[in-house]
Amino acid sequence: MDTPKGSVAKTLMLVGFFAAAAAVLVAGSYELSHERIAANEREALLRNLYSVLDPDLRDRGLTPIQLTVTDRALLGSTAPTDVFVVATDDGRPEAVIFVSTAPDGYNAPIRLLVGLTPDGVLTGVRVLSHRETPGLGDAIELRKSDWILQFDGKRLGEPPEPLWAVDKDGGVFDALTGATVTPRAIVRAVRNTLVYFERHRDELFAAAREAAREARD
């Protein structure tokens, strides 16, 4: 590093050159990878879709009808949210699956699969993708702990509203040792999804019937 003292302009040009090269490199990688990443996530979504349903439903070969809705406040994302209505051939809904987002994860939004019966009882919640701290917040993954299973069978009103929170905040859901933000974010996101479903149930089912009819014709 015995470079002679260069002029300021020369140094600036060097920095500019490296910054431009880095920008090209990162942009290139993004360009090269973002479609594949989206496809990978899509594949993971479809692979895991039925994991949040009642086991009896999984094997009946029902086709999920895909809808998209947008509700930033309750579903956690400004982007359209995928909702799958699992219905019988004559259009009777058997289950609903939301791909909700918990926008207030510790490092990044957490994407969730939330499975419901048509009456709004939770049949399962799974984490699709997250960036929580390894060893602390990542216990929300089913393969690392069964924390996420405590939502099964819950619904709005059961537990009653003030208890829809982690135990640290006086609720019924276990917090995770060393990670408070993560469980809080997920509990809130699941509750908000239930609220959304309660408000829009009829619209969703009507839209699903419509889509199923169109697909048949």
């Binding site: 060097l14 920095v15 090269l32 990878s33 973002h34 701290t133 602390l136 690392k144």
Partner: protein, 227 residues
């Protein structure tokens, strides 16, 4: 040949980033709750160290001393971002396991130290080897500390190792006949665990060569040791 041996020895023992330079402690202390996590972070760090040393060494003649540190940071951060994106796209299975650890590497000053002391002065091949050795040295400490905390904290060893190797079984996990104390898993346990490892290393060094302490000594401690 001698240089290769010396480079390896440096990274693994003489100036091990975690035990001697005490660098990269932020991810080191945060992640080592189990041996498997330590291993995952170690692998990701080693990969980044080798690539960043390669790139920085390749452009070392173009770097101007006054702006070298910002440029190192720029290069390392861009590389980590690219590695994160590309593994997510093309090695998705691996990314599901290691992906959480990759962003933590940007904060690892061991990488900056390698850039400053090795990659910006030495030829490409030696720099890459040095990065590999330092990464490996870091990995060994991560796994040791993770194992220590896992045994003391939850009475298991290699729990979750199956995840890293792409199997859903627990056949790698060794269950020990006690439950462990939570404190070992919590942050204080990380400091105690690292202290134990440092003490062991210091002991070994002193035994081999009583005349020197591994860590820069203050006059007072030197005086204490003289009978």
């Amino acid at each position: 040949m001698d240089e290769i041996r010396r480079t390896l020895n440096d990274g693994l023992w003489t100036s091990n980033p975690a035990l001697v330079q005490l660098l990269g402690l932020c991810p080191l202390l945060a992640i080592t709750t189990t041996a498997a996590y330590g291993f995952a972070l170690g692998v990701a760090t080693t990969a980044v160290l080798v690539v960043s040393n390669l790139v920085i060494s390749a452009v070392r003649r173009a770097l101007v001393p006054v702006v070298r540190i910002p440029l190192f940071v720029l290069i390392i951060a861009s590389l980590v971002t690219c590695i994160d994106l590309l593994t997510n796209a093309f090695l998705h299975e691996l990314h599901e396991v290691l992906g959480l650890f990759i962003p933590l590497i940007v904060t690892n000053c061991a990488i900056l130290a390698q850039a400053e002391t090795v990659a910006s002065r030495r030829p490409v091949a030696i720099s890459a080897l040095s990065g590999f050795a330092a990464g490996l040295g870091f990995l060994i400490v991560l796994v040791a500390l993770g194992a220590l905390r896992e045994i003391a904290g939850q009475g298991t060893l290699f729990a979750g190792a199956a995840l890293l190797l792409g199997e859903d079984s627990d056949r790698f996990t060794i269950e020990l006949p006690f439950d462990g104390v939570l404190a070992a898993v919590l942050p204080p346990g990380a400091f105690f665990g690292l202290a134990v490892l440092l003490a062991i290393r210091n002991l070994l060094v002193r035994e081999r060569d009583p005349s020197r302490l591994p860590i820069a000594e203050e006059p007072a401690t030197a005086a204490e040791r003289t009978p």
